[in-house]
C-alpha cells in the first residue's frame, strides 16, 4: 500500500457504550490511518472530549447506558464537526431535530462509516 498523497490523519471521536464494539471500531479506524479520540461510553465523557480535543469527525452511538447522545451532537455541531450515528435503532426513533445526521445501522463496516462521515 502506498501512502503517497495520503491526507493528514483525521481525528475521529468514538462514543460507544459497548466495549467490544468500541475496541473493534477503534482498532479498525487506526488501521485505516485515523487518529481515535476516546472511545468513551458516557455522555459526560464525550462532552469533555469535545470540549478539549480538536476533531474532524465523530461516530456516535445514540443510546449510552440509558442516556441519549444528543447533547454531544449539539456540542459537535457548534464546533462544526461532522457527525454520524451508529445505532441498533431505526432511523424513525431518532429525535426529529437530529434526522439530518446520517445514520448507520449496526452492524456496519468501518469503511462505510468513514465514507459516510467524510465523503
Amino acid at each position: 500500500m502506498t501512502h503517497i498523497g495520503k491526507p493528514p490523519a483525521r481525528r475521529v471521536l468514538v462514543v460507544e457504550d459497548n466495549f467490544n464494539i468500541a475496541v473493534a471500531l477503534t482498532r479498525l479506524l487506526k488501521l485505516r490511518g485515523n487518529e481515535v479520540v476516546g472511545p468513551t461510553a458516557t455522555v459526560s465523557g464525550a462532552l469533555a472530549l469535545v470540549a478539549d480535543q480538536p476533531l474532524d469527525g465523530a461516530i456516535l452511538d445514540i443510546n449510552l447506558r440509558g442516556e441519549t447522545v444528543y447533547p454531544v451532537v449539539d456540542a459537535l455541531r457548534a464546533k462544526g464537526v461532522r457527525v454520524v450515528f451508529m445505532t441498533g435503532y431505526d432511523q424513525k426513533s431518532i429525535k426529529p431535530a437530529y434526522v439530518d445526521v446520517p445514520c448507520l445501522q449496526k452492524p456496519v463496516t468501518v469503511d462505510r462509516v468513514l465514507q459516510t462521515l467524510f465523503d
Partner: protein
Amino acid sequence: MWQSIRCHGMLPARDAVATGWIDSLILAVAVGAAYFLSARLGLALLIMPDGVAAFWPAAGIAAGTLIALGPRTRWPVAAGAIVATIAANLLGDRNVFSSVVFGLCNAGEALLAAELIHYRFGPHFDLDSFGRVLGLLLAAVLATAISGIGGTLGYVLFHRSDAPVLSIWEHWFASDALGIIAVAPVLIGCASLRRHPPSRTEFFEGTAALLLLSVVGAFGIFTGRGPWTTVVPLALSFPVFLWLAARCPPAFAAAASFIAALAIVWTTTFGIGFFGTLPPKEHITGAQAGVLSVLLCALVLAALFAERRQQAAALAKSEARLQDALTVGAVIAFEWEHGSGAVQRSGNAAQILGFDPKHDFTAPEFLRHVHPEDRERFLTTIYGVSPDRPSYTEIFRFVCADGRELWLEEIAKAEFDMRGRKMRLTGLTLDITEAMRIDEVLRSSEERLRHALEAGQICTWERNDKTGIVVWNDQYYRLLGYEVGEVMPGRDSWMGRVHPEDRETARVVTENGERDLKDYVSEFRILRPDGSIRWARACGRFLSEAGEPLRTIGVVEDITEAREQIETQRVLVAELQHRTRNLMAVVQSIAHQTLSTTASLDNFEARFNQRLEALSRVQGLLSRASDEPITIAALVAMELEALGSHACNGRIELGGPVVRLRKSTVEMLSLAIHELATNAIKYGALASEAGHLSVTWRFDDAAHERNVVLEWIEDGIAALPGGRQSARGGYGRTLIEQALPYSLSAETKFELGVNELRCVISLPPSAINGGGTFT
C-alpha cells in the same frame, strides 16, 4: 186520459235535456198537446154556473212537468201551456182576450209552483217524505191562489160573468189546486221511477194494483146510480191504496189517487152514485173534498211508508258498514246483559275468536278461553267496575279453540240501575296480536342491540338536528368522565372533555362531515377530571332529507387499550431490532478480538464458538428477564454449569445476597464471568483436583455509593506446563480490566499469583437493581 198521462211519463226519458231549441220545441208541442187535451177535458166537465171548470187537470200537467224536469224546461212548458189554453178556450165559448189572460195565468201558476218547489227542495223532487208532500200541497195552494186572482179578473173583465167575484176565485182556486195535486204527483213519480227504477216485484204489484183500481173505478162509473156504486168502490179501493203505499214507490200511489180522483170527478159530473145524488152546489164541493182527501191520504201514506223504507235501508247499510269496519279493524263490539248472562257480539266475533258462529258463545265460555295467567286479573277488572269507575281497558291473552293465542284489548263501560247494580257491559274487543308481535320483535331487537353495545363498551349518541336535542347512552357519560345524567349532552359538554390538543382536529373532522353530510371517523383523546386520558374513536353519520339534516347518530369506542398495545408492540419491535443489531455488532467485535488473540484457526474456532455460546446463554436469560430478574447468583451458576463445573462439586463455593442486575450489565458481566470460568477450568483452580474456587459478592456500604463487590478467588492452582501466566492474560483479562470499567464504570482488580487468582469487580449502583431502561 190515462194514455195521455203515460205519454207524458215518457218525457223524462229525454230528462233535463231541452238544451237545444229542437228539444225545447218538441217539449213545448208535447206539453201543449197534453195541456190542450186535458184543458178540453176540464172544459167538458164545466159544470159551474159561473163557467169555471170543477177540475182542471191541465194545471197539473204544466206544473208537474216543470217540477219533474227542472227549471231549464220552464219556457217551452210555459209556451205550450199558454198556446194550449188559448186554443182550448177559443174552441169553447171564450173570447180572445179572456183566453189570453187565462193562458198567462195558467202558465204563471205552473212556473210559480215549480219555482217554489225548486227553491225549497232543490232538484230531483220526489214525494218520498211527508214534508215534501206538504210542500207540494202548499206550493199548489199558493200558486193557484195567486193565479186565481188573475183568472177572476179575466172572467170579470172579458167574460161578463154574473157570479160573485169571490166565488169565481174560489172555483178557479179549487179546480186548479186539485188539478195540480192530482196530476203533478203522477209526473213527479214517473221522473222518480226513471231515476230509481222499481224492482220487478214492485213494478208488477204496482201495475196489478192500478189495474184493479181502474176496474173498481170503471165499476163505479159504469154500473149506474145507487148507493152501492159509491160505497162499494170506496171500500174496495182502500186496501189497494194501503197495499200500494206500503209496498211500492210513491209514484204508484200517485197514479192510483189520480185514477180515484178522475173517477170521482166523472161520477160527480155525470151524477153517478153518491156524488151524483147530492144537491147541485154541494155535489161539486163534495166531489172536490172527496178528491182532495183521497189524494192527500194516498200521498201522505205513500210518503210515510217511503220514509220508513228509506230509514230501514239506511240503517241496514250503516249496520253493514259498521260490520265491515269492525272486521277490517279486527274489532268486536259486544254487549253483555248481567242479569241473564246473555252476550251479543258483532258478526265478526266468531271469525276473530275462532268459535263456531252457529254455536252460542257464552260469557263463561269466553272466560275459559282467557289465558290462565291473565284470567284472574281480567276477572278482577271486570267485576271491579262500579258506578264511580264504570269503564275499564284491559289487555289479555286469549287462547282460541284451535290453540292460537291472541292478544286482545278490551275497552268497556258498564251501565248501572238506580240502585247501583250492574245491568250490562258494552264495549269493544280489539285483536292486537299483530301489533304486540311487532312490538315484541322491536323490543327484543332493541334489547339485543343494547346488550351488544354494552358488552362491547360502545358509546352511542344521537342528535335531532331539528330540535338540537342530543342523547347519550350511559356508557358515553362514563367514557367522558361524567356521572350519568350529570350534564346536558351536547357539543359543549363533549368538547369540554376532549383533550385540548385534539380539540381542533376533532372539531374540523366533525364539521367537514356535517357540511358534506358524509360519514366521518375521528380519533381523539379524552381528558377526564381525574387527569386520566382515554383514547376514543368516534364514527358519525348524518341522516338528511333533501339536503336538510334530520338526525346525526354515532358510536364512540374506547380504544385506549388497543392503542397501548400497539405502542407496546412498537417499542418491543424497536427493542428487538436494536438488540439484534447490537448483538451482531458484538459478534463482529468478538470475532475481531478472538482473531487478534489466537494463534491458530482451530484455536480461534473453539474460543469463538464458546464465546458465542456464552452470548447465546445471556440472550436466553435476557429474554426471560421480565419474568425472572437476573441475579448475580443465576449468572455465575449458569456459566459454571455450562462449562461442566458439576464435576468439581465440593471445590466451588458460591455465596452472596440477592443482587438483581440491570439488563445492560448482564451481557458484559456474563462475558467476563465466562472468560474467568473458562480459564479456571482450563488452567486454574478447577483444572486440578487440589484447586478451590470461591465466588462471593456483598454490598459495600463503605463508599458513599452502595456498590456490589464480587470476588472471584482461585487457590491451589497447580503449575501447568506451557506458561499459564500468559495464557490467563488475553481477552479475558482485557474484558475485566478494560471492558467492565469502560462499559459499566466498574472498578476491577485482576491479581494473578503463582497458584492463586484474585479478581475483584466492584459494580456501581447504576449497574444493579434491575429495571430502568432497556439497553
